[in-house]
């Protein structure tokens, strides 16, 4: 094994502080080092070419290069070597400036020693480096969208415009979702159905024309395939290559033949309350929710239809579209990407018994009020008292019903204030004489033009009562509901008698979200909504490449935000599909099937669902999906059999580096080993250098992808090798880049402390630190603390030389 070491002076910055000659001499003495060069720079020009030639002509096997600003230098050097056919994983880059000079300017002598040992460790690690191949995985150029509401339709349109085929799956017989019931959308009071419609150009139809969901021609979008009455029952395969199984329930009406004439409903004898219309009217067993929905064809409700016993509709259908023998179909398709747009639904307020929803007919929800306010709806746009059918003149709304309530949903549903204001506005516009009172805790109108609604409501005389009502009782004399609430601003307890009480209920995840998450292998958060990969910067991505989420599936959203979100998801999916293939360096976890067997711990800890188990010669062994593995190594840090290793960070590589870093050039000085994750941990250490915050050079730094890869025996071996104290530096638990690697590491450190204590070794010798990347000052503090501890506790070598 021939290692070449290339020490850059970084334009003289290094030699100004460190004695490079001394370092060079030391490096030449390391076993395996065949070549040492010192130059001004190795990241470009002649310097870079010298590394290339060292590989090509002087036949070195591995290289250690020091450079300042390591990230950029690393990219340049590795790209150049790749061009020349040198595997970039054979080169170890060291940032001497950042690690040994900037943070240790006050101790140049000690800094030299740290530089020597840092390079020694790099060489020892380099000797064990192995080339890592890159692999290409093809991507199927089509997408599946689950959920045909506002988000799903918008995402579909965007993706089709980008040039991909899209399959849209909707579990109801009609698309449109919750939004279709909400009449109008704030902030412009557009008709809800039109807003959902696609915008595209056709002769005579301008780009801005919207004509309801059906007439806009959603069905005519090239490349869009809509399955209504359908569910995704399984998803298999890998990112870019999913095999999806869809179960399509029978509609009993041939969608291609039905012309929507409605003759069938006239003869259908089965009548039930119409749930779409808040039970304010009834519908037949063969029905359509609203004539302007898509598809504009009837459907049979199989839970109530009498089928062959009756079959009257079959006889009258002029196009012979009704087929009572229709069976459920199973459809299998392959897609490259999946977008989850399953939205949200209204919380059922029946559980809040003191509000008597479901018991008092005049207590309804906002979505039910929306049906009343629909001019084409069951009451012709007039709010009524369901108990009597007469017009409701006095309406009390209650906000935060089931949201901001620790008994049900802790979160603020975000849009209910605006829905209440919008409805109050509509009622007031319809009849300025009607009274609207809104009981609220806080009014939240964040969003453009949203506050206008609040202003307008006050102008129109809507009364706002700051208080959450304790209960709704029925006035025995008038039979009307009475809302009992403290007016928090005056301290009076009010009895608000109303014709109609409207509950602004919370919005909760669509039923079945959890099951779908399981099918897809993605996560739901504690609140039950789908969890984003990163809620700040990657709000429409999931942990699994190729699966995206948008709209209300991640949190209740209004129409504008949903549209934005849907476009973002479509863009991400489109970008993924367009590449046609995934190219990936296989820097992944690899299973040693000889050692692996039957414990099945690693699938539980993998944050990415990348580990499955397979039966092999009577044993269950782990199998890592190369595509899904993100290379954190949490599985490695778990495996009790050392049967799984992370490429480029194998146990041998980690231990070699630890042992080298334990080298004491001055036996009097304590050695502190800082093992950091490559994310926040390493950034925090780097930032102390960047911000010129000093910490003692006794602290030697090594990097692993995630602190979760570390194991208890790494710490024990470090002590065994003479490290006097260990600091593990990881991300903040809530900000861990690999979900919970930092937490796992902290737990391992805690166990190590217990062990040390039992063995008579001071547990303070190891400590976990969790910090964010800018906390260079905190790192420096921690480093000082640990060096002080190591000094006062004394050399560990004296304690364990059995």
């Amino acid at each position: 094994m021939k290692v070449g070491v290339f020490i850059s002076d970084c334009g003289g910055l290094v030699s100004k502080v460190l004695d490079i000659g001394d370092i060079e001499k030391y490096i030449r003495g390391i076993d395996g080092v065949k070549l040492v060069e010192v130059r001004d720079s190795f990241s470009s020009g002649e310097g870079l070419e010298r590394i290339v030639r060292a590989f090509k002509e002087r036949r070195i096997d591995r290289a250690v290069v020091t450079e300042c600003s390591p990230k950029i230098a690393e990219i340049r050097i590795l790209n150049r070597l790749k061009e020349e056919g040198v595997n970039p994983y054979l080169v170890e880059i060291v940032d001497l400036l950042g690690s040994c000079i900037l943070p240790h300017r006050s101790w140049p002598d000690k800094a030299v020693e740290k530089a020597k040992v840092t390079l020694l460790a790099a060489v020892e690690r380099a000797k064990l480096l192995e080339p890592i191949e890159s692999r290409r995985f093809p991507i199927e150029k089509s997408a599946l969208i689950i959920g045909g509401g506002l988000a799903g339709i918008n995402a579909a349109i965007e993706l089709i415009d980008t040039g991909f085929e899209v399959t849209l799956v909707e579990r109801e017989p009609f698309i449109g979702g919750l939004a279709a019931r909400m009449v109008r959308f704030f902030p412009t009071d557009d008709c809800a159905l039109c807003v959902q419609a696609p915008i595209y150009e056709l002769k005579g139809v301008t780009k801005t024309s919207r004509k309801g969901l059906y007439r806009s021609g959603v069905s005519e979008l090239p490349g869009l395939n809509i399955y209504t009455n359908s569910r995704v029952v399984s998803v298999e395969g890998e990112p870019g290559n999913f095999t999806v199984t869809i179960e399509k329930k029978p509609r009993y009406v041939d969608e291609t033949k039905c012309i929507g004439c409605g003759e069938c409903t006239k003869v259908c004898p089965v009548e039930v309350p119409d749930l779409f219309n808040a039970k304010l009217k009834s519908r037949k067993a063969i029905y359509i929710n609203a004539p302007n929905l898509y598809p504009p064809v009837y459907a049979i409700d199989e839970t109530i239809c009498k089928f062959k016993e009756c079959a009257k509709c079959v006889e009258v259908c002029p196009t012979k579209a009704i087929d009572l023998d229709q069976k459920a179909e199973t459809i299998k398709l392959r897609v490259g990407a999946i977008i989850v747009a399953t939205g949200f639904e209204e919380f059922n307020p029946e559980v809040i018994k003191e509000y008597h929803y479901g018991e008092y007919p005049d207590v309804i929800t906002q979505s039910e009020l929306a049906r009343m306010l629909d001019p084409f709806g069951p009451t012709g746009g007039i709010p009524i008292r369901p108990s009597t059918g007469e017009k409701a003149k006095k309406i009390v709304m209650i906000q935060c019903v089931g949201s901001r309530d620790r008994r049900y949903n802790r979160y603020c549903s975000g849009i209910c204030c605006m829905i209440a204001l919008k409805h109050a506005d509509m009622i007031k516009k319809l009849d300025p004489e009607s009274e609207v009172q809104i009981c609220y805790i806080d009014i939240r109108t964040t969003g453009r033009m949203h506050e206008d609604y609040y202003e307008r409501a006050r102008e129109q005389g809507v009364i706002f009562v700051k208080g959450r009502p304790t209960e709704i009782v029925l006035n025995p004399d008038s039979g009307k509901p009475v809302v009992i609430v403290e007016d928090g601003l005056t301290g009076e307890i009010l009895n608000l008698e109303a014709d109609l009480v409207v509950l602004s209920t919370a919005f909760v995840p669509s039923s079945g979200s959890k099951e779908l998450a399981e099918i897809l292998g993605i996560e739901v958060a504690e609140d039950g909504f789908f969890k984003e990969y990163n809620s700040k910067l990657r709000p429409t991505e999931t942990k699994i490449r190729g699966i995206y989420i948008c709209g209300g599936a991640t949190y209740p959203k209004d129409a504008p935000t949903t549209a934005l979100h849907a476009s973002s998801a479509a863009l991400k999916a489109g970008k993924f599909l367009r590449s046609g293939e995934i190219t990936k360096d296989l820097k992944v976890a690899v299973v040693n099937e000889e050692l692996c067997g039957d414990c099945e711990f690693c699938p539980v800890v993998c944050p990415y669902g990348a580990i499955t188990t397979v039966e092999k010669e009577g044993h269950v062994v782990a199998r890592v999906s190369e595509l899904r593995c993100e290379g954190c190594g949490i599985c490695v840090g778990t495996c009790p059999k050392n049967a799984i290793e992370l490429k480029h960070y194998t146990d041998d590589q980690i231990l070699a580096q630890i042992r080298a870093l334990a080298t004491k050039l001055d036996p009097k000085e304590p050695v502190v080993l800082a093992i950091c994750c490559a994310e926040c941990g390493h950034c925090a250490i780097e930032s102390s250098g960047i911000f010129l915050i000093e910490y003692p050079p006794n602290v030697r730094v090594m990097k692993v992808p995630c602190a979760g890869v570390l194991k208890v025996h790494h710490f024990l071996e470090a002590f065994n090798a003479g490290v006097d104290a260990i600091m593990v530096v990881g991300c903040k638990p809530e900000g861990c880049h690999y979900e919970y690697g930092s937490i796992k590491a902290a737990q391992k450190v805690a166990f190590t402390k217990t062990l040390l204590k039992a063995l008579g070794i001071e547990p303070e010798r190891i400590e976990m630190f969790q910090m964010v990347h800018i906390e260079g000052d905190r790192f420096a503090e921690a480093a000082k603390l640990m060096v002080e501890r190591a000094s006062s506790l004394g050399s560990i070598k004296e304690m364990i030389k059995i």
Partner: protein, 166 residues
């Protein structure tokens, strides 16, 4: 100038029963749930909490408000933020009493429990009546045991406060 501070809330939060005080977001569900607040504005649990949260320690501990809760737990049952309001009021009363603010009726409870091991003494006449109706003779509490328990709790300090008052 009125000083606003979170010190008192912190103090309350540390006490048994007072832990949930900072959950409160002043929605007033408690007050509209309260049967006492419905008949008098001398009592308003929401205001009691906001006064505590603002650090009006003296107003809270020396005022009559904390004593007007009828312990019906209706507010606690309905609070959307799970503030344990009734328990919180006990905690406030505990602080008030430990500082010598003890309404007469409570001194009576204290001495009854300490001397009898029960809150109500059974009159000789009643014992006779019980016998007439064929009720079994009443078993007596172990007063010594009760006193030993009370001595281990903050009740012991209350006894000292009360002695000091006399």
């Amino acid at each position: 100038m009125i000083r606003v501070s979170a010190d008192f809330a912190k103090e309350v939060k540390k006490r048994l029963g007072g832990e949930t005080i900072t959950n409160c977001y002043q929605c007033g569900t408690c007050t509209s749930s309260c049967p006492v607040a419905r008949v008098t504005n001398r009592f308003n649990p929401r205001k009691l909490i906001v006064q505590s949260l603002r650090g009006k320690r003296d107003d809270v501990l020396t005022g009559e408000m904390i004593w007007l809760c009828c312990s019906c737990f209706n507010c606690q049952e309905r609070c959307p933020q799970r503030v344990e309001i009734a328990d919180l009021i006990y905690a406030l009363r505990n602080i008030a009493i430990s500082e010598g603010n003890v309404p007469n009726i409570y001194s009576e409870f204290v001495s009854a429990l300490y001397s009898e091991g029960k809150l109500v003494k059974v009159a000789g006449f009643t014992e006779k009546q019980r016998e007439n109706f064929g009720l079994p003779p009443l078993k007596k509490p172990d007063v010594e045991a009760i006193r030993a328990i009370l001595a281990e709790t903050s009740f012991g300090e209350v006894l000292k406060v009360l002695e000091g008052k006399e």
